[in-house]
Symmetry: C2
């Protein structure tokens, strides 16, 4: 199941890299992230621009410039990132693509799909980048490969 686009996958991985390995009091360069994760520098740059415009990242140009979190990682929830990268309507879509599907005109799998989306949304709403960053640092989970 391909739930996320490449933008979503790469963006989330690159962002988590920053959260897991933040430079102290300074910016982290996109080049280091993209090289370390084996992602396209230009593609990551484009994705980060979106995150910067939407207030999740700060960016700074010039030598020793780069990007940084705009807020403490404790205050950024996974759902905020997903909604920027995949669109605000990420959790609103009918599994069969029916535009008027809803409680009034449910599609054949509406009720069940609603529950799945709700579970996802709740989890993403309660998971901070800080939590995931910590799991990465302690090597409980991995960001590469």
């Amino acid at each position: 199941m391909k739930a996320l686009s490449q933008v979503g996958k790469y963006g989330l991985r690159a962002l988590l890299y920053l959260v897991a390995y933040p430079p102290e009091n300074q910016y982290l360069s996109i080049r280091q992230i993209s090289d370390d994760l084996g992602l396209s520098f230009h593609f990551v740059t484009k994705i980060f621009r979106e995150l910067t415009e939407k207030g999740i990242l700060l960016s700074y140009r010039g030598p020793s410039g780069g990007i940084a979190l705009a807020k403490p990682a404790e205050e950024i929830m996974l759902i905020d990132v997903i909604k920027v990268l995949e669109g605000e309507d990420f959790f609103d879509k009918c599994l069969l693509g029916l535009p008027h599907c809803g409680s009034a005109k449910p599609c054949p799998v509406h009720e069940f799909w609603k529950e799945v989306k709700s579970q996802l949304q709740e989890n993403f709403s309660n998971t901070s980048l800080a939590l995931l960053g910590e799991k990465i640092r302690t090597q409980e989970v991995r960001l590469d490969e």
Copy 2:
């Protein structure tokens, strides 16, 4: 969340149409299904060919030809259809696209995503086309729009 491709969405809708409104002892033409659901005849034909090759449908050419279920609708589970239309690995993919993600090398959202996929897989495994067809016939749910 775009869980299914157009092939999956159209294919499932078209198949459910057949299940909900089966002609007695005969084939249903693809033209009637695609016209009624407002889908491309050629696209649906291509999708049905796949379902025929994989043993979910029977097809018959010539006048009063068309397609029919290869087995009783009670014996066809949603998961069988999804796996044909979206690939056998539909439930095996890492949310972040990491090829080696698994219990040995989990990605940051592995555990949670595993549960979501498992819930989906279980539901799809326990839902027969017959059940959904009945819901459509009784207008408890809808296939159009």
